[in-house]
């Protein structure tokens, strides 16, 4: 199942985005000293090269977008319109994970991330919400995935992952 290629407006936005990144790079490059030593070029040389090249790419992308669209563009897979609500749930899960991992520990943060993400992915499939029991079930599933991983890394491989307690078991 393929969607039509993204609209010219969206393509223009991508070109403009590349130009913006190039501008940020150039702005950052002005703050880097150029003392070159024997090499003739200093630490600010490559930043300028990348900024200018990216600006050229952005300009060219913009030109393509305005003159008939990106060349040789394959239609992307999936639906034509994005399910932004579903995306928001998954993003919320990842944000919660990043926020909580050092406070609530790896297992709980990941279980919460899993619960939110699975809800979003299910809603994208168009399945109705099946009440708090489903949420509980998802949370338990998330724990059951995260716990063995946590033990494998903390107990067997001795990689430090944050826990709720200092025991290395939760």
């Amino acid at each position: 199942m393929n969607a039509p290629v993204p609209s010219r407006g969206a393509q223009t936005l991508i070109g403009a985005g590349a130009l913006l990144v190039a501008a940020l790079l150039a702005w950052g490059a002005t703050g880097i000293p150029s003392e070159a030593g024997y090499a003739g070029v200093g630490p600010n040389f490559l930043p300028w090269v990348v900024a200018v090249a990216l600006a050229a790419c952005g300009g060219w992308l913009l030109f393509e977008a305005r003159s008939g669209g990106f060349r040789e563009l394959d239609p992307p897979s999936g639906a034509e319109r994005g399910d932004w609500g579903a995306l928001a749930w998954v993003v919320a899960g990842l944000l919660a994970n990043a926020l909580l991992i050092e406070r609530a520990g790896f297992v709980l943060a990941c279980a919460l991330c899993y619960t939110l993400a699975v809800h979003g992915l299910r809603s994208a499939e168009g399945r109705p919400w099946r009440g708090p029991r489903q949420v509980l079930l998802d949370a338990v599933t998330g724990m059951l995935i995260a716990l063995p991983v946590f033990w494998l890394f903390t107990q067997v491989l001795k990689v430090n992952l944050p826990g709720l307690t200092g025991t290395g078991w939760l």
Binding site: A3, P6, A10, Q11, I14, L25, G28, P33, G37, Y38, A39, G40, V41, P43, F45, L46, P47, V50, A53, L54, C57, L61, F70, L73, P76, S77, G78, A79, G82, D83, W84, A86, V90, V91, G93, L94, L95, A98, L99, I101, F106, A109, C113, Y114, A117, V118, L121, A124, E125, G126, T141, G142, I145, A146, V149, F153, L157, V159, L161, P162
Partner: protein, 483 residues
């Protein structure tokens, strides 16, 4: 033989099993699988972890082919052609034969290519010792050009992706002057942006987000599995294709122009031309069309070890991640590696042999078991992938900041996929950028600040001419064809 101790064989076994399991799941290719497990390098000794990663890698490639054949969702570009014919074969009830020819073909190609790597690498390393910074810089330039401008469909989008990768590579401390660049005052940026973080963000998290956003209503139909078995006729048709595929794949892997896209398509075209049963291609599925490209893919991928080990130049996403595994151990691949860590290099090469055999012995009979993994519903599968992504990224340096960055890169991955930007140039630019910059500045120091140093040395001049040809030739050919 350090690679064949029982404990290392166990690592190879676990690696193959884990790799196949993850490789079968849609959306995760071999490179990301290795990336997510990279934190173990902190604890496990180099030889064992190299063996483990080889096992994972082979397993994941095999798992990916399985998914391509049964589900028509190639995990990475190298298996796109496999999906082309393999899915058709499976549709007409020959999934078993397609799986068998891809597994045995991969084994044949992997083994032959490993032998060639064993023979070539020391020669290459000896030659590479003579190369100076100008030559290295030109080689890297060649890698940049081919990865971004030749492999994808649009050179503009490939180059844009490359420069985004180079920009990411600029973040952190400059290798030569210790100047801090683009950190924005954030201490986490001082060490630069890890390649693992970018790979996991762009591929694994990006895949999950893309699925939530666009693929919710997509339904995939799974082909039925038959017995994994080839008739005598199918054997006869397969083996010349395996050998041709191996021969086509290897040279493409060794030149710093990596990527398995071109050799797999070349092999597919060759088989199609040579086949006595052209009518099967694209209709009921021709076994040569699976056997050849699958062998070419595996052979090219194995051959990318030659530039990686002897020059320190990664030309594929997986090679880039392996390079970062080496760096975690404080090892710098390059000609010196064969002198300083000879044992490790040979252990790695030995583990390739072991991984190949392990895969054939273990996975061929057990493919029915792996296929059951395809029945996991999509929602819990992708949500579960996020947990593994968290382990891989957080476990690397214990920083929650990296998790925000991972989310950001995931969103970038969604945009890139939607607008058909290639992702490999980002990874190659990120890991090769700082190396290329250092070589360039060293080269200019040798030339006392003069750019002529790149033109005065015959090797580097030749390489520059090749770079120019690679950029110009396709355009000239296209233009001539139109005229």
């Amino acid at each position: 033989m350090t690679a064949a101790t029982p404990i290392n064989l166990l690592w190879a076994f676990v690696g193959c099993a884990v790799g196949t399991a993850i490789g079968v799941l849609p959306g995760l290719g071999p490179a990301v699988t290795v990336a997510m497990l990279l934190p173990i390098t902190a604890q496990v000794e180099p030889t064992a972890s190299m063996i483990f990663f080889c096992g994972i890698y082979y397993g994941a490639m095999y798992g990916g082919s399985t998914t391509s054949i049964l589900l028509n969702t190639p995990g990475e570009t190298g298996t796109m052609v496999t999906a082309l014919e393999g899915f058709k074969m499976a549709k007409s009830g020959r999934a078993g034969a397609a799986l068998a020819t891809s597994a045995i073909g991969s084994f044949v190609a992997g083994t032959v290519a490993t032998v060639l790597v064993t023979l070539f690498s020391p020669v290459m390393a000896e030659f590479a010792v003579q190369l100076g910074p100008p030559e290295y810089f030109c080689l890297m330039l060649l890698a940049f050009t081919t990865v971004s401008a030749v492999l994808g469909k649009s050179r503009l989008r490939g180059l844009t992706a490359l420069f985004v990768g180079l920009a990411l590579g600029l973040v952190g401390i400059d290798q030569i002057t210790a100047q801090v660049r683009y950190t924005g005052g954030i201490p986490e940026f001082m060490d630069g942006v890890e390649v693992v973080l970018v790979a996991v963000g762009l591929f694994a998290v990006g895949e999950c987000l893309y699925n939530a956003l666009y693929e919710g209503r997509s339904v995939s139909d799974i082909n039925r599995m038959g017995k994994v078995h080839m008739t005598r006729r199918e054997w006869r048709r397969s083996w010349p294709a395996w050998l041709r595929g191996t021969a086509i794949g290897f040279p493409f892997g060794t030149i710093p122009a990596g990527g398995s896209e071109i050799p797999t398509f070349l092999s597919y075209a060759t088989e199609r031309k040579l086949s006595a049963r052209k009518e099967e291609f694209g209709t009921t599925g021709a076994i040569e069309g699976v056997a050849g490209p699958e062998a070419a893919n595996n052979s090219a991928v194995t051959a990318t070890l030659v530039p990686l080990l002897t020059l320190g130049i990664p030309t594929s996403v997986t090679a880039a991640i392996l390079l970062s595994a080496f760096q975690n151990y404080g090892l710098n691949p390059g000609p010196q590696l064969f002198q300083t860590s000879e044992g490790l290099v040979w252990a790695l090469i030995a583990s390739l042999y072991i991984g190949n055999v392990m895969l054939l012995v273990l996975n061929l009979p057990m493919v029915g078991l792996w296929v059951k993994l395809l029945k996991i519903p999509k929602a819990p599968l992708y949500a579960g992938i996020l947990i593994f992504a968290t382990v891989g990224v957080y476990g690397m340096r214990q920083s929650a900041f990296d998790l925000y960055l991972m989310l950001g890169l995931g969103l970038v991955g969604v945009v890139m996929r939607r607008f058909d930007f290639p992702t490999a140039p980002v990874i190659v630019g990120l890991i090769l950028g700082p190396l290329a910059e250092a070589q360039m500045r060293n080269a200019l120091s040798i030339g006392e600040g003069s750019w002529m140093v790149f033109l005065e040395r015959p090797m580097s001049l030749t390489l520059l001419v090749i770079v120019a040809l690679v950029l110009v030739l396709p355009r000239v050919i296209a233009w001539k064809r139109r005229a």
